[in-house]
């Protein structure tokens, strides 16, 4: 066991982990931040996406020890300071961008990373960026719509109901 410390959602945390402990396991089991989900064992689904030092990372592909000293943000840290939904979260609710909710944390984290690097993405750019996030429920229609709406674009024109 080795001690690891990092900042998660603005709070400094630490814990004892094995060398093989994944960041996703540390978040879920060590910190009980279970909003980060595990949907696969081959780094394909994106349910586990978090931000590490501002970059979207699949937390199942990173060892907890490699996040030593990092700034980590998870879905639990995405709402506004007053607890209300952030613009992206609100857009997902407004446009029905989630059904079972299992892929949702990863989708929201990926969407936030996308809009940071590309504040006004086209539909094609959103679809391409989400390549690493699988959703089995929504058919992506409303996820794409929600992300474009969150970027301030008028979605009534581009996305038929």
């Amino acid at each position: 066991m080795t001690k690891v410390s990092m900042s998660v959602n603005g709070k400094t945390v630490s814990g004892d982990v094995e060398g093989r402990t994944l960041l996703s396991e540390f978040l879920r089991e060590g910190l009980r931040l279970t909003g980060t989900h595990i949907g696969c064992d081959t780094s394909q689904c994106g349910a586990c996406v978090v931000h590490v030092d501002g970059e979207a990372v699949k937390s199942c592909t990173m060892l907890a020890l490699d996040a030593e000293g990092a700034e980590v943000r998870t879905i639990e840290g995405m709402a506004n300071a007053d607890g209300s939904l952030s613009v992206i979260q609100q857009a997902f609710q407004d446009h029905h961008g989630l059904q079972c909710g299992f892929c949702t944390p990863g989708m929201v984290m990926s969407a936030a990373a996308l809009l940071k690097e590309n504040p006004k993405p086209t539909e094609a750019e959103v679809r391409e960026y989400l390549e690493g996030n699988i959703c089995r429920c929504t058919g992506y229609h409303n996820i794409v719509k929600a992300i474009m709406a969150a970027s301030g674009q008028d979605v009534s024109a581009i996305a038929a109901e």
Binding site: G39, D41, E76, H96, L98, C100, L130, R136, T138
Partner: protein
């Protein structure tokens, strides 16, 4: 003005807030005091005799608490099939025992024959490897190919079942001769052999179960990823472990998608309960994705020959299908109903075809069990039919649209009884067809095709006019047909003293949004704000009973039970109001949340009546009990029959065979729509699963029974950039005539109607592009398959 409240409003989903903030509670999110971890030891061969299992080394490893093998469950019951099918000769289907852990033989890769429970997951996993190393399995030849399974009587999945045949079913056997005669004398017969490709449902949340046991009370609790916790409870108690039913609570908390795969009871659920009892500690198990691929019930996997007899003008005179359906190594709970009564009964489609006969043989193989996956039998029927009709139209030189129009049942013909025993209550198939043609701008297609051609691409348009039968019912009829369960549902409506409401429903929401939509239904009828209504689901200790959510039944069946319970609440409220208002009960009306004396301004609000029921000071106590809580069980008297027309437009690159789906248009009839936003979301998701089946998804076993597609690296799931926006309309509504809400199921429609539209579009593109020899390509239409077909 669109409504902002109650039935028909686009109410935002209340469940979203927890999912968007990471505060949902899925099974694997729950931590239990003193919890332990189970890991299953699974067969790596498809078929083998278990010679010996030596657990001694594993048992001595750090943290290991207990190890189970098939031997430990040899004396308890098996996981049963929920539907008894009889073969054409009258004999009952063959039902091999499906044990908690394999015993004697392993029958598919992933079949669990032992389980280790340890203090940590890592310890359990290490010890499971040691159990595997201590096990000797003598490999037997695998039975994978359907035709070979039936032909080779010596190689058996189950030693007692000689030709690997579960049953040989005819529907309807009495139709057979007439169908044969009509086919023989038909002016034209189209023959099509096709494969309905095997799929893995792939809910994004892997299966997970936690067992608990309290020695002092003898009570068990199972928290599990289930679409119907009550059925799981019944199966575990009555069939598998013999636990008294009042001693087991099953909770299905937030569940991350199901699509059928979580309807069923699985061995891991029994295992964690048995282990929890043995250890007196909670035992948890969560599937890795590879385990999900290996052991979740798969879907489809039919090989079908369909014949359509027609007149030269395209009028269909007979339909005959012969199918081999794979049921895998064991019978999953609905595996025998899916290829039969959910498939054969739909083979007339929305058409006025006089003669239909379906023959289906269900075959055991050394593969994972196959059962209902979104659509369940109806996608298979629809695909066969809609592909064959397209082919027939081409062979006769007719327009596929006009051929369908000619054969569609017309609105004046309802109720319409098909030759395969369903009675469609209502519909307007012409209306949805016209709507789809208009929405997809079919009139402008030729111009778009010319533009594609100028770029060297082939454009095609594909249609499917689909119908489905969902909300399966009624119980007395399905009982005659072999169902071993009832197909009613139950609800309790509990009004509190302050007038707020809890509804306990037997439906289970794993993405469908019941917490929001059911509250809309209740708010509308009782004239109260939606936020005053709470929907409780997924906990057998709180809910009277229920058959869960699958087969697009939640609103039609469970919603109707809620409606009936509300009727009882209103009836009782009228009695209370009559007393308080000193009027006769017959004069009391209830509207917009107010009980009033007809023709006067005397009234009591819903809240006042509720308060009076719990504080019965001015109350007819001699004739009426206090309190305001009612339960209803609702058994529908028919299926509901949603229908619609789907159009898909594609572009094929003739150099590579790659297909681009340019647009997908849906005109659906779901009867009355409670929340259009949610309904459209269901269609989007279903259509994309159907596009997945048509274009990329494929479950491949090699000849030794190894699953080649056991991860997301190998099994292609539709990603955001594989699919277009999906245009959905549900305005051509004919309300269901036999349920109180006038609703039809919408959850499976997309997955049922879309695959043939996609394939028809690709064939259309190739035909228009001069590849006249390509009349069919089996799904999935990968570039290599399309390319090979073009050059074949």
């Amino acid at each position: 003005m669109p409504k902002d409240h109650g039935i028909g409003a686009r109410s935002k989903r209340r469940e979203d807030v927890r999912f968007l903030t990471g505060t949902g509670h899925y099974t694997d999110d729950m931590a239990m005091q003193g919890q332990t971890y189970a890991v299953m030891v699974r067969s790596t061969v498809a078929h083998g005799k278990i010679v010996s299992i030596d657990t001694s080394e594993a048992a001595a490893m750090p943290g290991v608490l207990t190890i189970f093998t098939g031997e430990d469950f040899a004396e308890v019951g098996g996981n049963p099939a929920g539907w008894l099918i009889h073969s054409r000769d009258g004999s009952p289907m063959r039902e091999p025992k499906r044990p908690v852990l394999a015993h004697g033989k392993v029958r598919h890769v992933g079949d669990a024959y032992a389980a280790v429970v340890a203090e940590t997951y890592a310890q359990a996993k290490d010890a499971a490897e040691a159990v595997a190393a201590g096990t000797v399995i003598e490999e037997l030849p695998a039975i994978v190919d359907l035709a070979a399974a039936v032909a080779n009587a010596d190689n058996r999945v189950h030693d007692e079942i000689p030709d690997n045949l579960c049953f040989d079913w005819g529907w309807i056997e009495d139709n057979r001769e007439a169908v044969d005669a009509a086919m023989k004398s038909a002016e034209h017969v189209t023959v099509l052999e096709l494969v309905n490709n095997r799929l893995v449902p792939n809910a994004m949340e892997p299966r997970s179960s936690i067992g608990e046991y309290h020695p002092a009370s003898g009570e068990y609790k199972l928290t599990t990823t289930s679409q119907n916790p009550h059925l799981t409870k019944l199966l575990v108690c009555a069939f598998v472990l013999g636990i008294p039913e009042h001693k087991l609570t099953v909770v299905a908390p937030d569940v991350g998608g199901g699509f059928g795969s979580k309807i069923y009871h699985y061995g891991e659920e029994a295992l964690v309960l048995a282990a929890a009892k043995k250890l007196g500690r909670p035992v948890r198990w969560t599937a890795e994705r590879t385990e999900s691929f290996l052991t979740d019930a798969h879907g489809r996997d039919h090989v079908t020959k369909i014949e359509v007899g027609a007149k030269k003008d395209g009028e269909i005179v007979a339909i005959r299908t012969t199918t081999l359906a794979n049921v895998g190594a064991y019978l999953s709970n609905f595996s025998t109903a899916t290829p039969t009564f959910l498939h054969g009964t739909l083979m007339a489609g929305p058409y006025k075809v006089p003669n239909v006969y379906v023959n289906l043989k269900a075959v055991f193989t050394n593969t994972a069990p196959v059962d209902a996956y979104r659509g369940a039998g109806r996608p298979e029927a629809t695909y066969s039919l809609e592909r064959a009709i397209d082919k027939m139209a081409r062979e006769l030189g007719l327009d596929p649209v006009e051929v369908r129009r000619k054969n569609l049942i017309t609105p004046d013909m309802f109720p319409y009884t098909t030759p395969v025993a369903l009675q469609y209550d209502t519909g307007n198939y012409q209306a949805t067809l016209d709507k789809a043609l208009e929405m997809a701008d079919v009139a402008g297609f030729e111009a778009r095709a010319a533009e594609s051609k100028a770029r060297g691409k082939l454009r095609g348009l594909g249609l499917s006019t689909w119908i489905e039968a969902c909300g399966i019912a009624p119980s007395h009829l399905v009982g005659q047909l072999g169902s071993r369960v009832g197909l009613y549902d139950a609800a309790t409506v509990r009004v509190s003293a302050t007038g707020t409401i809890q509804v306990m429903t037997g439906a289970h929401s794993h993405g469908q949004g019941h917490e929001t939509v059911f509250a809309q239904v209740v708010a509308e009828k009782l004239g109260i704000p939606e936020e005053n209504v709470e929907i409780v689901h997924g906990d057998t200790s709180k809910i009277p009973f229920g058959m869960g959510s699958y087969g697009s039944r939640s609103l039609a069946v469970c919603g109707s039970a809620i409606d009936r319970a509300m009727d009882k609440i209103i009836d009782k409220g009228k009695k209370i109001a009559a007393h308080m208002l000193e009027a006769s009960e017959g004069d009391i009306t209830f509207e917009n949340g107010s009980f009033a004396v007809a023709g006067t301004d005397k009234a009591k609000s819903f809240g006042e009546i509720a308060f009076s029921a719990y504080v019965p000071h001015n109350y007819p106590l001699e004739t009426l009990e206090p309190g305001l809580e009612e339960t209803a069980f609702y058994d529908p008297n028919n299926f509901t029959y949603p229908a619609g027309a789907y159009l898909c437009e594609v572009e094929v690159d003739p150099d590579t065979g790659s297909v681009d789906i340019l647009s997908f248009t849906c005109a659906d009839d779901f009867g009355n729509v409670m929340n259009p936003m949610v309904v459209e979301g269901q269609v989007h998701g279903g259509v994309v699963q159907g596009i997945g089946q048509a274009m990329i998804e494929h479950t491949a076993y090699d000849e030794t029974g190894q699953l080649l597609t056991a991860s997301y690296m190998d099994y292609a799931m539709p990603r955001a950039d594989d699919v277009p926006m999906v245009t959905v309309d549900h305005s051509c509504a004919t309300p269901c005539t036999h349920n109180p809400l006038g609703v039809k199921g919408c959850g499976e429609a997309g997955a049922i109607g879309s695959p043939p539209a996609v394939v028809n579009a690709v064939i259309d593109a190739l035909q228009r592009g001069g590849y006249a020899h390509v009349t069919h390509i089996d799904m999935p239409l990968t570039p290599s398959r399309v390319w090979a077909a073009m050059r074949g």
